[in-house]
Amino acid sequence: MKTLSLQNLSKTYYDLYEGSHHTALHDISLDIPAGEFVSVVGPSGCGKSTILNMVAGFIPHSGGEILVGGQPVKGPGRDRGVVFQSFALFPWKTVLDNVGFGPKMRGVPKAERDEIAREYLAMAGLSHAADRYPNELSGGMQQRVGVVRALANKPDVLLMDEPFASVDAQTRMTLQDELSRIWEERRPTVLFITHDVPEAVFLANRVVVLSKGHVLADVPVPIERPRVWDKLVEDDAFKELSNKVLALVRSA
């Protein structure tokens, strides 16, 4: 696992319709120590996805620096695993081959990467789905595959942009429980984008509140682990913290 550091990061988009430049992010600084889980929340349009896409290397940044383990980011790379809101599984590959894709790109032989993929699928309770195609799975199962596909490539940092936004509420809570468990076992460095405040608090060590392109607040979450919804739904400290963050987001 590695640290993720954003230093005075900014992003200016060129607006084709207006014919003018538009600053989406000004001067974002954020340090995520190795093995820490940080959630970023904020109202729609405040620049959450922009941050994640720049860290992933999908779009260039306009100013400042992005460092992963001290190294500047230049384009996408296997050191940063990404989980997409739209799952982004390869429809023409089986679940097993989707999960084995990262190892395949590293040149791991077929038998070995199948073994890796099976091990990760087992972790997400998906062993039975290995030979199926993504379209044969429910949304919740697809996103489990999305998460283990990213993990199976052993990234230094895991980036997630509203990964559970397109599944139903019940499934979402199960997935949050599972992600929490997986994080506790493996301790990856995580940057997790969401606009769901309870989700952000439930999962993270710290919640960063973003407002109109800058950091409004950085709230630590000192709730003990392991965290499961069964315990936390009624937990006063959890509720209080959630309300506090919610108030910050509202004021943003």
């Binding site: 992933a56 999908f58 296997r78 590293r106």
Partner: protein, 256 residues
């Protein structure tokens, strides 16, 4: 499933069979001149003869060989080009006007110049087939690449895929349903072009078979040839191209 397929085939064949029945009645009843239109038995006889003396096989073999070679060459060049256009706006902007222009000419408009370049026969006709398939496959590949969600390309890149892996693992399979559609449509045009080209530029093949029979007023050979041309295409299309297209769309096509 099986019985539904048989039923489907029956409903497809029934109108054609009816046409043959009407033909079988009309020709003797009105005593049609065989130099205008042949009778059913005459056509059957012509068919049997051409099978027995091997000429049918010769003509079909020649036509199919040209179609297969022209199509394979066209696909091999068109798919990488279409993908390149799909990922590079510069290449696409540059080539699109050229494609638009030449796709209008695709087909038999090329025969005169093709015969000057390749001589009468195999080369010129393969070139015509190539032309018929090429442009439509380039265009469909381009379309296919543009339907691949950006997130799939991003996912591959962040899992460590380089340029080549992106091509073989994402762009090519992602565009495959559209490529299949392109090949199917393109071959439909190329098949028509083939017959026309063979009438002009060769001395063997189904088109030539029709054209020569005309010189001898052998309407039964002409009609038999027309039946072969239509039937062959339906077989190729229904047994090969359509199932391939359907399979890729079923397996892949859930993104769209």
């Amino acid at each position: 499933m099986v019985s539904r397929r048989i039923l489907g085939t029956m409903t497809f064949i029934a109108p054609l069979a009816l046409l043959v029945v009407i033909w079988g009645i009309v020709v003797p009843v009105f005593q049609v001149n065989p130099q205008i239109f042949p009778s059913v038995p005459a056509v059957v006889q012509a068919g049997v003869n051409s099978i027995l003396n091997g000429t049918l096989l010769m003509h079909v073999g020649a036509s199919m060989g040209r179609v297969v070679l022209g199509t394979v060459l066209a696909v091999l060049v068109a798919v990488p080009l279409g993908i390149l256009m799909g990922i590079s706006k510069g290449v696409s902007d540059f080539l699109t006007p050229l494609l638009r222009f030449f796709s209008v000419l695709a087909g038999i408009a090329w025969i005169p110049i093709a015969t000057l370049w390749f001589g009468y026969g195999f080369g010129a006709i393969v070139f015509v087939i190539f032309n018929g398939v090429f442009f439509i496959v380039v265009y469909n590949t381009l379309l296919g690449v543009s339907t691949i969600p950006m997130s799939l390309r991003n996912a591959a890149a962040s899992l460590g895929a380089g340029r080549w892996a992106l091509f073989t693992e994402v762009l090519l399979p992602g565009a495959l349903p559209n490529i299949a559609t392109g090949v199917r449509t393109g071959l439909g045009f190329a098949w028509r072009g083939l017959i026309a080209a063979e009438m002009i530029a060769t001395n063997v093949g189904l088109g030539y078979m029709l054209f020569v029979a005309r010189d001898f007023y052998q309407t039964e050979v002409i009609v038999f040839g027309m039946i072969v041309i239509g039937t062959l295409w339906l077989l190729i299309d229904r047994l090969l191209l359509a199932p391939f297209e359907r399979a890729t769309i079923e397996r892949w096509g859930l993104v769209r």
